[in-house]
Symmetry: C2
Subunit: 274 residues, 2 copies
C-alpha cells in the first residue's frame, strides 16, 4: 500500500478554535480510493515548523503528502515558504499561477465583487511558488493549489477552505491516488453488540484478527443501555475488486456474529450510508 | 512557553470514520491554561507507528506529550506497548492499576452490569504498563490513564473515549500544565470585516502583526454576502495576568478597527462565548 500522509497547517487548529474536518474528509476520500492514510500532522503558521514537518514526512518515505492550509495572501500563510525551505528550492513568481489569479480577479471584478481590478502584492504572493511547482486550478477560490515532485514523493498543497480543498482534491488529487493505489477497492461493515463487555469481546476479536491478518477489525465502546454494555464493531478490507472486498467483510462479519452469539452476546448488523 | 504536543492513536481517525474532536478539545483547554499546543499527530493502532511518533516528539524536546486512545482491553489497543518501546522500558503488571480496575469491575458487578466478577486476561492487559508508570484514576471508564516521566518530558496517556479523556484531563493533566505554564493568561477577540478582500487586508494585518510580535492575529475568509467579501479576524494574546492579556487584545482590536475603517471596510466586534 502506498504511504500517504496529511499535513494540516494552521494555528486555529492548535488553539482548538477549529476542529480538523479537513483531515477527516481527506482520510475518508483516500480510504474510499483504496488506501489508508498513514499519519495526520498539524503544525502552526510558522516556516520552521512547516519545513520540519515536511522533512520528517520525507524521512518516513511518503509516496504522497497532502498539505492543507496556508496558501492565502496574508502574512500568516506560510505553507509554500515552508515547503520551499524543506525541499531547498527557491521561491519564484510562477507565471501560470499569476495568470490563474488574474483571471479570478477579473471574474470578481466583472461580477462587481471587486471595485478595482489590480494585482496587489498579496496576489503576487499567492503566485510565488517553490521552483518546479505546477499550479492547479482552484475552481472556487483565488489561491491556486500547488503540485510538486521531490524524488519519489508527490506533494499537493491545497487551500484550507473546505469547499476549495474538496473541489481541488476531486479534480486533481484523487486521479493521482487512483493511479498510485491501482485497483484496490474498499468494503466496510458494522455490528452493534450488546450484552458483552469490551474485555470479554477481546479474545473473540483477537482470534478473528489473527485469522484475517489484513482485515481491519475495531471495537468501540458505546456506553450502556440500562445495565447492558453497548459496543460497535467496525470491519473493513481492501481487495483488488469491490466483490472480493465485500465477500471478505461478509465472511468476517458472519464469523464475529457466530462467536459473539456463542459467548452470550446479541449482535445486530448496522447499515451505514456511504 | 513550554512545548506541548498531542498524539492521538486510532485507525478510525486515519480512515476518516471519526473526526478528531479530542485534539480540538485538548488544544482549547491547553490554550485556556495559557499555552499553545505545538503539534497534533495521529497514527494508527500499530506499535511501531506509536513508538516512532513518541520518539520523534522526544527529539523535538517536548515538555509534555498528551497521548490519547489505545488504552482499552482489546488487541488493537497498543498505546502502552508503543510507549514502552519508545522509552525502552519493560511492560509489567502495575499493582495499583490492577486494584483500580478490580474496584471498577466490583462496582459494575454490584450495579448488576457485569454478571460475573472476575479479572480476565483483558483486565490484566489494561494494568500492564511501562515500568515506572503512575496509573491515574479513571472516574468514568475502566482503563486507568497513565503518567510517565522521561528525562525532562512528562507523558500522559489518556483513554480515547471523550468523557473519560476530559474527566482525567481536568483532574490530573490540567494542574500539571498550570504549574508548567506558570501564571500566563489568555485573552481573545473577534472581528467581522466586510467590504475588503482578504488580499487588501493583508498589508494591514502584516503591519499590525509586525508591531505586536507576540500577539496572534489571523484572518479567515468567510465567503461573500451578496457581492461583499466577509472575513473574520481572530486576535489572541498570552500575558501574566488576565487584565494585561485583555488590555493588549483590546489595543490590537482598536488599531485593526481604525486601519480597516480608513481603508474603506466595515468592522463589527463579535463576542463569542468562552
Amino acid at each position: 500500500m502506498p504511504r500517504i500522509e496529511i499535513l494540516c497547517v494552521g494555528n486555529e487548529l492548535l488553539i482548538g478554535k477549529t476542529v480538523n474536518t479537513n483531515a477527516r474528509w481527506l482520510s475518508e476520500m483516500i480510504h474510499n480510493l483504496g488506501c489508508v492514510t498513514a499519519r495526520h500532522t498539524v503544525v502552526g503558521d510558522d516556516v520552521e515548523c512547516i519545513a520540519g514537518a515536511v522533512k520528517e514526512a520525507l524521512k518516513r518515505r511518503v509516496d504522497l503528502l497532502v498539505i492543507c492550509g496556508g496558501l492565502g495572501p496574508t502574512y500568516d500563510d506560510k505553507t509554500l515558504e515552508g515547503v520551499a525551505k524543506a525541499l531547498r528550492r527557491r521561491l519564484e513568481v510562477n507565471q501560470e499561477a499569476l495568470t490563474q489569479i488574474e483571471a479570478k480577479y477579473r471574474e470578481l471584478f466583472d461580477q462587481g465583487v471587486l471595485q478595482r481590478f489590480e494585482l496587489t502584492a498579496a496576489s503576487v504572493k499567492m503566485a510565488t511558488l517553490p521552483s518546479k511547482s505546477t499550479p492547479l486550478r482552484n475552481p472556487i477560490g483565488t489561491a491556486p493549489a500547488v503540485m510538486l515532485e521531490y524524488k519519489s514523493c508527490r506533494i499537493f498543497c491545497l487551500p484550507g477552505v473546505p469547499s476549495e480543498l474538496e473541489a481541488i482534491f476531486v479534480e486533481s488529487v484523487a486521479p493521482f491516488i487512483k493511479k498510485l493505489v491501482g485497483d484496490l477497492s474498499v468494503a466496510e461493515g458494522w455490528l452493534d453488540v450488546r450484552g458483552l463487555p469490551e474485555s470479554s469481546l477481546a479474545t473473540i476479536l483477537e482470534n478473528v484478527a489473527a485469522k484475517y491478518e489484513d482485515v481491519y477489525v475495531k471495537s468501540l465502546p458505546r456506553g450502556f443501555e440500562g445495565s447492558e454494555p453497548k459496543l460497535e464493531i467496525y470491519v473493513s478490507a481492501l481487495r483488488d475488486s469491490k466483490f472480493a472486498a465485500e465477500s471478505l467483510v461478509e465472511e468476517v462479519i458472519s464469523l464475529l456474529t457466530a462467536c459473539i452469539g456463542e459467548a452470550g452476546g446479541s449482535v445486530e448488523r448496522k447499515y451505514v450510508e456511504t
